[in-house]
């Protein structure tokens, strides 16, 4: 396990080139060059063997001799006084156990630079981009990163344009994913047996990409995870922890949320109220897989939300009611269990509760009172011990059971006197 520092500005990150990797952060300094004579200002800690770059990342070669402010390099050239950088390069390519750093000394001065992933996706332990004083772009076409530790992007001076997958494969806990406002353009996979990652900031995945949870625990940690095409589960032991976080599934398709492999999938509420919000403006499907979702499922878009599977939810809501009418449809023949039910519509913006086909579904809640309103309900069996009040402004579309189409009795109590 070692550290690898990127130096020399623009370059390629592949499995061969050691030209931009050092075991220590680079040096930044001011110097001029005439021929092979390098003259520095100040006393940078240069040593023989270091590679020197101009401020446009042209290599001046390596230092072969010199001291104090006068040095001799192998290539040289004519360079006016400018910010240069230097480092001892040739460190081995980062392995999966090595942490990589991109910092203020990865370039010369504040020049922009691009690190391009080529040949194959790149491995590392921790990936840290921090302290950058010139804009760095991490690029790569259909190639990405496999991160065994934590990932930290910088809030400014950092772009990630690589379109390959980002895979987190830690097998220990305590890892963090902090993208700091940088959207990932490729798919994101969490797949480490026994691994656990918590979000340090919101995580947004490109619009045509997916997030897959295969093995390990993904803790939203109160932040918002926004997936592109879908969130899906795969074969493995996996947990989605909310701690007040929100999973946003914005895409309109039949697997926007796809619990494709419910075996081994659990959810944990943690502290606060977690939410899965389905926000597509057109029809979308929540494939529950019969799992227990210790969170609120929210209808957050105009398009009908179809829920498949006999699932258990902590709560269900409809934030779309502030904007338009919408629908929540359950698969006929399924039983959906709720701890709380807070899905309702508003005047002129009814929430339709129905089945996806011409047969009934069942909603169950063990106790308490459901107090809803502005619903249009059909083919819905409400049961389980709770009193299901649809509200005075709701409509009975037929083939319902258990729903009470009135407001719940007032629970207001007042003081009264008893005279004997």
């Amino acid at each position: 396990m070692a550290n690898r520092y990127w130096v020399g500005g623009t370059g390629v990150w592949n499995s061969i080139s050691t030209a931009n990797w050092s075991t220590a952060t680079g040096l930044s300094f001011t110097a001029s060059c005439t021929g092979t004579a390098l003259t520095t200002t100040g006393s940078p800690a240069l040593v023989v063997g270091m590679t020197v770059w101009s401020n446009n990342h042209t290599s001046l070669g390596t230092i072969v001799s010199g001291a104090l402010n006068t040095w001799v390099v192998t290539i040289g050239g004519t360079y006016a006084s400018q910010e240069m950088s230097a480092a001892t390069v040739g460190a081995s390519i980062p392995a999966a156990s090595d942490s990589v750093f991109f910092d203020a000394n990865s370039n010369s001065g504040t020049s922009v630079f691009t690190v391009t992933i080529i040949n194959s996706s790149r491995f590392c332990n921790d990936f840290t981009a921090s302290g950058l004083d010139g804009t760095m772009t991490l690029a790569g076409t259909n190639l990405g990163l496999v991160v065994s530790g934590s990932l930290t992007f910088q809030a400014t001076n950092f772009n990630a344009t690589y379109t390959g997958n980002t895979t987190f494969n830690a097998t220990t806990t305590g890892k963090t994913v902090t993208t700091n406002g940088v959207a990932l353009a490729g798919n994101v996979n969490f797949n480490g047996v026994g691994g656990a990652w918590s979000l340090g900031s919101a995580l947004t995945i490109g619009s045509i990409r997916t997030a897959t949870l295969t093995n390990g625990t993904l803790d939203l940690n109160g932040k918002t995870l926004t997936v592109g095409t879908r969130f899906t589960t795969a074969t493995g032991t996996k947990n989605l922890t909310f701690n007040g976080g929100t999973l946003i599934c914005p895409d309109p398709n039949t697997t926007s949320f796809n619990n494709a492999v419910p075996t081994g999938f659990t959810t944990t509420a943690g502290t606060g109220v977690g939410t899965i919000s389905m926000t597509a403006a057109t029809a979308k499907t929540f494939v529950g897989g019969g799992s227990t979702f210790n969170c609120t499922l929210n209808q957050g878009g105009a398009g009908a939300l179809t829920i498949t599977g006999s699932n258990t939810f902590s709560n269900i809501t409809n934030t779309r009611k502030s904007t338009s009418a919408t629908s929540i449809l359950f698969t006929a023949g399924t039983t959906s269990t709720f701890t709380d039910w807070n899905a309702s519509g508003e005047s002129t913006r009814l929430l339709t509760i129905g089945s996806d086909t011409a047969a009934s579904h069942t909603l169950t809640k063990a106790s308490g009172t459901v107090s809803s309103d502005f619903l249009s309900i059909s083919r819905s069996t409400a049961t389980g011990g709770a009193s299901w009040y649809a509200g005075a402004n709701s409509t009975d579309g037929g083939n319902n059971s258990g729903w009470i189409f009135t407001a719940p009795p007032s629970t207001a109590t007042g003081n009264f006197l008893v005279f004997f």
Binding site: G131, G144, A155, G181, T246, N253, G300
Partner: protein
């Protein structure tokens, strides 16, 4: 490193994020507010973008 948690509530749900800035970031509160608003605006733009076809992500 300074961590500034923030959130915006919208019809789509809550957008909760955090700014991680160096200790000596030197940003004014207005600049920080602008960065937060920019992140929220970027997020809304992404989740309200028209549907697109999914493309495979090939790995070498």
């Amino acid at each position: 490193m300074v961590k500034i948690d923030f959130s915006f509530h919208s019809q789509y749900g809550t957008f909760a994020d955090a700014l991680h800035l160096p200790d000596d970031h030197g940003l004014t509160q207005d600049e920080i507010n602008a960065m937060q608003q920019q992140r929220f605006d970027n997020w809304v733009a992404i989740i309200t973008a028209p549907p697109t076809e999914e493309t495979p992500s090939e790995e070498a």
